[in-house]
């Protein structure tokens, strides 16, 4: 609770939380209501200027851009959450292996993580989609793998430090099972670094979805997605330049919100590290798109 309060007291944290909440609310609302059917083609309303009832105008098929954006929120959230889950499982598994296993395994894992961390997410995604074709799953796996190694890199030293700390030794001595020690001491101590990485990873996922969908390796063209919308509208950029603004703004706001949330989480968890936040984030090579 106190962490949440501290988070809210930071302007960046407030902004981040508001954006994430807004995103979730829009996605939920879009399940039951959008101003127009996002897929509905209306030949009479092609390229409507922003006005009532098409508040953001329409595209070349007369589809309502505001409704498409609302529906696209769901794709964005699905990718961010999916990539987050993959990154968490992979990252924590690698971190655990890298700090708990025998020495030989520990060092191999560390070297492997060092190598994998240099692989740009976009190249991982292209490797996967060369085999399975483009889909949202490609984006989820690529970002999940790319960020999983990042999480492992950052979490492992923390885990090792906590493992050798007095309170874990004391816990073991006082007869806690390893599971109890894990849930009471290890996880709460490792959680801060890990959650910060996760929110940055989700920001990368949102960018990756847009970029890969734009290249044709992400969401199928039939799915409402900000990246797909961006590439649809780009073809008419010379004639209707302003339509392309909306999906870009949506993506930028979401990524900005998640980035700020990550920065604020870091500051709330460890105020002394706050000014160093960007240097840790910048170690993410190949932030796509």
């Amino acid at each position: 609770m106190s962490t949440l309060k501290r988070l809210w007291s930071l302007s960046t944290g407030r902004f981040g939380i508001l954006i994430v909440v807004l995103l979730v609310v829009v996605a939920l609302v879009s399940l039951v209501w959008t101003p127009f059917d996002p897929g509905a083609v209306d030949a009479r309303a092609r390229w409507a200027d922003p006005s009532w009832p098409h508040v953001l105008g329409t595209d070349n098929n007369g589809r309502d851009i505001a409704s498409l954006l609302m529906a696209g929120t769901r794709t964005t959230i699905a990718v961010a959450v999916g990539a987050g889950v993959v990154a968490t499982v992979l990252g924590l598994a690698l971190a655990a292996l890298g700090s708990l296993a025998t020495r030989w395994v520990r060092e191999s894992v560390a070297v492997l993580v060092d190598i994998l961390i240099a692989f740009p997410v976009l190249l991982i995604a292209m490797m996967i989609s060369a085999v399975w074709g483009g889909s949202l799953a490609v984006v989820i796996w690529a970002v999940g793998i790319g960020f999983g190694v990042n999480i492992a890199r950052v979490t492992r030293p923390e885990l090792r430090r906590v493992l050798q700390s007095d309170f874990v030794l004391a816990g073991r001595a006082s007869g806690l099972t390893s599971w109890q020690n894990l849930t009471r001491h290890l996880l709460p101590n490792v959680a801060p670094v890990f959650i910060v990485q996760l929110s940055w990873g989700m920001a990368v996922a949102v960018l990756a979805e847009a970029g890969l969908s734009y290249l044709g390796f992400g969401a199928p063209v039939t799915q409402p997605s900000w990246g797909v919308l961006l590439s649809d509208l780009q073809r008419y950029i010379a004639v209707h330049p302003l339509t392309v603004i909306w999906p870009g703004l949506a993506i930028t706001f979401t990524v900005l919100g998640l980035n700020l949330l990550g920065d604020a989480l870091r500051e709330a968890a460890d105020p002394t590290l706050a000014e160093r936040a960007p240097s840790a984030r910048i170690h993410v090579p190949g932030v796509v798109a």
Binding site: A118, M127, V244, I282, P285
Partner: protein, 316 residues
């Protein structure tokens, strides 16, 4: 130093081996038959079998892998399934667009990131410094494709100063047109990457301001800014070298997306087309070339950093 360089070189070789094995295996778990894919649905079983033999798919995986790696040492990255051209030749050809694009993007990123990052840190209590920092935070969240589209709208569609897309047919034989074609793409990648660099330079500078030796120099009569410039910035410069490696990787990745937007005939656009066409030998060679490049840049950056930072040498 030599021991460090050798260890680091070992890691590089290991990295290249892991990368090549991963790329090779990932492209081999294809659900379906590559020979069938190449032959098309019309191919008879005999034709498919002949193709399999000519593509070398009838030998065990490890022999295929060794064959591929062996070829690498002779500069043979494989042959395109679809056009039959040498992957290495095409890479060299397309690099003539991608390498200048990357160099121009890096220049823009440095010009944007370093001076503005220092300014933003120096003016952190003033409105200008804060504004710079907020702008950088926002720019770093902008998707590269979209930034490119916005620049096209302003500089090509509205102002008509620069071409919206394309690369001169004459290539570098028409240097003026070639450079003009690369300005908008390089600006796009450079500004977004520069915004990330700005954030890093800012935080590194802020850290340097807080160091004792800067405070001491200021106490001995230098102005705070001069103390920082003379004693703090060399240290900032060192940490920037590390970031540059990551930035170059980011620029290469940005080029893949941006070449598509600006229809530039570079390595990135070729890779996108080959992935879509499932020209596996080509994709394999291109992916290895790109990841190899990223790994080598990381290696060089680490070595340079080590070479010029005495603290790192002592730490070993």
């Amino acid at each position: 130093m030599i021991r460090y360089a050798l260890t680091r070189l070992g890691l590089l070789v290991l990295g290249l081996a892991v990368a090549s094995a991963l790329i090779f295996l990932a492209l081999r778990v294809l659900p379906g038959d590559v020979a069938q894919l190449v032959g098309g649905t019309q191919a008879t079983p005999e034709q498919v079998e002949a193709l399999r033999e000519s593509l070398g798919l009838n030998v065990p995986l490890w022999q295929q892998y060794l064959g591929w790696i062996g070829g690498l040492f002779r500069g043979d990255l494989g042959t395109s399934l679809l056009t039959g051209t040498s992957v290495a030749t095409e890479l060299v050809d397309k690099a003539q667009v991608t390498v200048p694009l990357a160099a121009m993007s890096l220049t823009v990123a440095l010009v944007v990131g370093i001076p503005l990052g220092i300014l933003s840190a120096l003016g952190r209590h003033r409105a200008g410094g804060t504004a710079l920092s907020v702008a950088a935070q926002a720019l770093a969240a902008v998707p590269v494709v979209w930034a490119g589209m916005m620049l096209v709208v302003v500089f090509a569609v509205w102002l008509g100063w620069l071409p919206p897309q394309g690369f001169p047919r004459a290539g570098w034989n028409d240097p003026g047109a070639a450079v003009r074609a690369l300005i908008l793409p390089a600006l796009t990648i450079g500004v977004v990457e520069g915004a990330m660099l700005l954030r890093f330079v800012r935080s590194a500078t802020l850290q340097a301001i807080g160091q004792d030796y800067v405070r001491t120099a200021a106490a001995k009569g230098l102005t705070r800014t001069r103390a920082l410039l003379r004693h703090g910035l060399p240290n900032v410069g060192l940490s920037i070298i590390t970031v540059l490696g990551v930035q170059i990787a980011g620029i290469i990745v940005g080029a893949v997306v941006i070449e598509q937007l600006f229809t530039l005939p570079g390595v990135g656009r070729m890779l996108v087309a080959d992935v879509a066409a499932r020209d596996l030998p080509k994709v394999q060679g291109e992916l290895l070339a790109l990841t190899g490049f990223v790994l080598v840049v990381g290696f060089v950056v680490d070595l340079v950093h080590r070479l010029i930072d005495p603290r790192q040498r002592e730490a070993a």
